[in-house]
């Protein structure tokens, strides 16, 4: 039997033509979950699970990490729940679950303790958002701080009470002197 398709065959055309069945875009702007860090910062990592084997050589790094560095990291991040799960005959992995419901898994097979430290530090500093290529090098929560330009941004307030046409407002501004101005200046001299 063929593999079960993930997309419903009866979906209307426009939804089938939309993005693929992933929950993310390939290139996107930087995103923060729930305005984290604006007034208060909470660690988005909720749970970390270390699955390792007590006997095999691949999990040496994970075992050493758990012995030496895990407790300290746990004390430094009291909001994160850490599980250490000894499982026979598995590749050692580190699973992380985040506030937005996403999960990450790092294969820790044959990794040294230092490599695992780096990876764990990365897991602790990530929000659960997927890694995407940046659309732009600039990103901000608000599009404009001073207020986006509108046609009335630089409009004089006198225009509210003006009766148009107004001679002063109708003057043609130019760097070059007009013929009339030149003659007037000459006469003045």
């Amino acid at each position: 039997m063929p593999a079960l398709p993930r997309v419903d065959r009866l979906k209307p055309i426009y939804t089938a033509a939309k993005a693929l069945n992933f929950g993310w875009r390939f290139s996107d702007f930087l995103k923060i979950p729930n305005y984290n860090g604006i007034s208060r910062y909470t660690n988005q990592l909720h749970r970390v699970t270390f699955r390792f084997c007590k006997q095999s050589e691949d999990s040496v790094g994970v075992r050493n990490f758990i012995e030496e560095r895990l407790v300290e990291i746990g004390k430094q991040n009291p909001s994160v729940v850490i599980y250490a799960q000894p499982v026979r005959n598995t590749t050692p992995t580190i699973r992380a679950e985040y506030g937005n419901g996403r999960q990450l898994q790092i294969n820790a097979k044959n990794l040294s303790m230092d490599d695992i430290t780096k990876d764990v530090h990365l897991l602790f500093s990530r929000s659960g958002n997927p890694v995407t290529k940046l659309e732009s090098r600039q990103s901000a929560l608000v599009p404009s701080i001073q207020g986006q330009w509108t046609p009335i941004t630089w409009l004089s307030t006198a225009m509210n009470t003006e009766n148009l046409p107004n001679k002063n407002l109708s003057t043609f501004k130019s760097c070059k002197t007009s013929a009339t101005e030149y003659l007037q200046q000459k006469n003045a001299e």
Binding site: M1, P2, A3, P5, V7, R9, I13, Y14, A16, A17, K18, L20, P143, S144, I145, Q146, G147, Q148, W149, T153, W154, S156, T157, A158, K173, S174, C175, K176
Partner: protein, 190 residues
Amino acid sequence: MRLSSILSLRRIVNSGFHPFQVIPKPDMWRKREQLQQFTAWQYASERTTVKGAYRKQDKLFHYLNMQREDEKLTEKYHAEQRVSTALAEHDMEYSKFKSILSKSHILLDNIVLAQLAIYEPRSFKSLVSFAKELARQEGMSVIPDDAEFSYDVHVDNSILRDPLPRAVEYPRGAAENHTNKPRKLRPDEF
């Protein structure tokens, strides 16, 4: 689902399953669904038929390629247009503005200036006032700002220097004419 008459084998329409082929038939549904992601927006036979959809998809890929190549140039062109329009609102000329910025070593690209003009209009206006004052001191004729919106600018001519050299852009890909051999290096270039 239809049962064939003699063999009573299940036959699912349009699936990759074949009752006698050991290596299963390639799954056509998956390929066509991926094709439809590009061609679902088309009209008539380009959407309904597979052949028309494949023809259209080839064209679409060509268009995507063209757009990707043109993106850079069009972005620069639009940014320049926007900057000169924003300057016109403040009665400043594009050439004078750019020359003053380059002489005062303010390395703001057209793209960034356009973004400032749209999203940070007061910052842009302050830049324009700064440039106007310097231009006036340089002897260029400028139209002064309205009293209502003018900024108080205190700046001296002495900050202007020679403009910085332009950044060299090395375009990607092979050179236009590959038959021209690169010139021999001089000893001082080694």
